[in-house]
Amino acid sequence: MGEYFIVVLLDDYRMSKIRGTGLEEHIKYMFGGELRLLEVKVPEELKDRILQEFETARVDSRGAITDLPVAFMRELFNQIVEKKSLGPEVVEAVLQKVDEIKKAAEKESEYLPPPEID
């Protein structure tokens, strides 16, 4: 009990940000190594706070917290890079910006910035 996690997907851009943070060894692989991801640990208490703050959020059968706003996921990645960690302090730092994220999440139903690909 108490062990929940959030999956953070890593594309090439995010991989370049991760390089040198010491987090490389925690990278997990799916789809024959084609999908790289990190798992951020979320203790019970933080999980409850997340579910309370974001009504779309769900916990799946593996204990993964899903359906979070994109703004939450972006900030989560920023904090991982900044703190060079996958521990609960990352989620705590994200939750400190909860109002900002909620405001962005509201706008997310109207606009999401498209990725820059050619």
Partner: protein, 452 residues
């Protein structure tokens, strides 16, 4: 010639319905002095959001997708459909299709049986309705329940009572009370808007196209989604059925109509499928993306029946059905469609599959399970063949990835397909259908009309 060869089936009902007048002068004469009515969208009975536009039914009927249906149904026909899913001419058909208007509009129009009503779309004359009967929907809620079924009446496959969370139920619940029944005829051919125009293959044209390509056997893939690699494998592996050789063609037929928030935009769906063949994952010579205009009713087995009718009319020999075919929520058994096509569903009027009852269908079902990536086999593996633990790909996982702007690896989604998503994302400012898209789409529709 091998006796095992399968031939292209006749249209449902024996001949294609084609009710489109292309001679503008003749059309003008036909409508001279007739009253006219501006087609209105069906609005959600509670929220007022558009949930259907009858123009899509008129298009699908007049171009023969729904053969042998020729128009808005009379009361006796609707009652027969609700009881045994048959038209008055005996041919099987799943849903009531009606031209419904409000009491107020009916009073103002002052029309009745024998009258010809001109139906305008986007301010231009579009079609005529030759009224044969006027009848009333006394209780739209009951009509909605009878259309889809109930756990008590249809215990084989209905698991939950239908309610306002079901978009198909809402369509019937939201119908206006006065039905003008009679045949439709399009008198002013609409032009499909880009990019839908190049995917427009009404049954006559699709049959000609199959002939031109030398496709004797064609399997249809129903879609409402941008294709991921799981879909691609379903398509190409289901095509290994056929007769003495795999199917010659794969017809992708996308149902284009009213959207729900969170769906992919229709533009991305059709071009996404096209990208599969442009990228060579399925050769263009074997693959044809196309559309049909229809506001999905999400009736799982009933919807599959309509899909079978549409694709047989288009000339397909086979139809692929998967889990939760045309389903939403948990109203139906996950495998209800496959049950219909293998055993029948007596409570809907099918003691045998729709291919094995009188006045039934000739298109062959190809029931499929699922493909997922297997790290042991190191390939996309079929759930009933591979004995390992596979990495399942859920739609919401993929959507989350897309929303975050993370490009899915090509074993999940082909880069060409992802590019299409991003193209329309840039266009609409959003990767999925949001409220703005949904509302705007029902204003713009998929067609434009010229003056008559």
């Amino acid at each position: 010639m091998s006796r095992f060869l399968i031939q292209r089936p006749l249209p449902h009902g024996g001949r294609l319905v084609e009710r489109v007048i292309t001679d503008k002068e003749a059309a003008k004469k036909m409508i001279r002095g007739c009253p006219s009515y501006d087609i209105k969208p069906t609005l959600h009975f509670e929220t007022g959001v558009p949930v259907r536009n009858v123009y899509r039914e008129i298009m699908s009927i007049c171009y023969g997708f729904f053969s042998p249906v020729e128009g808005s149904m009379k009361q006796a026909e609707v009652e027969r459909i609700l009881k045994e899913r048959r038209l008055l001419n005996e041919w099987i058909f799943p849903y009531p299709l009606v031209f419904d208007i409000s009491e107020e509009d009916y009073r103002n129009l002052g029309v009745g049986p024998g009258d010809r009503l001109v139906l305008n779309l986007k301010g231009k004359p579009f079609a005529i309705l030759d009224i044969e009967e006027v009848w009333r929907i006394e209780d739209p809620e009951e009509l909605a329940h009878l259309t889809f079924g109930t756990p008590e009446r249809n215990p084989e496959v209905v698991r939950e009572p239908f309610n306002k969370k079901h978009p198909g139920w809402v369509i019937y619940r939201s119908l206006q009370p006065v039905v003008l029944a009679g045949k439709y005829t399009i008198i002013n051919e609409p032009k499909l808007r880009q990019p839908f125009d190049r995917f427009w293959f009404p049954p006559r044209k699709s049959r000609e196209e199959f002939e031109r390509r030398g496709w004797r056997t064609v399997i249809n893939h129903q879609t409402r989604n941008v294709p991921h690699v799981g879909h691609e494998f379903l398509m190409k592996c289901a095509a290994f059925t056929g007769d003495v050789e795999p199917c010659h063609g794969i017809l992708v037929n996308a149902v284009i109509g009213v959207k729900r928030r969170g769906d992919y935009p229709d533009e991305a769906i059709v071009e996404g499928h096209e990208a599969v063949n442009k990228g060579g994952y399925i050769k263009p010579e074997r693959h044809l993306p196309s559309i049909v205009l229809w506001d999905m009713r999400y009736g799982n087995p009933l919807e599959s029946l309509l899909h079978g009718i549409i694709r047989q009319n288009m000339g397909c020999t086979h139809h692929m059905f998967g889990r939760d075919h045309a389903a939403v929520g948990e109203y139906y058994d996950k495998w209800a469609t496959q049950i219909l096509w293998t055993k029948g569903i007596p409570s809907y009027g099918f003691p045998a599959p729709p291919t094995d009852v009188p006045y039934g269908l000739d298109i062959r079902p190809q029931n499929m399970r699922e493909f997922a990536y297997c790290p042991t086999c190191k390939e996309m593996a079929y759930s009933e063949t591979c004995g390992h633990k596979r990495e399942k790909l859920s739609g919401s996982f993929l959507r989350g990835m897309v929303a975050e702007g993370v490009q899915p690896p090509s074993i999940i989604m082909r880069p060409e397909v992802y590019k299409v998503i991003v193209k329309w994302w840039k266009h609409f400012g959003y990767p999925f259908c949001n409220e703005k898209y949904v509302v705007n789409k029902e204003k713009e529709l998929e067609v434009d009309l010229e003056d008559l």
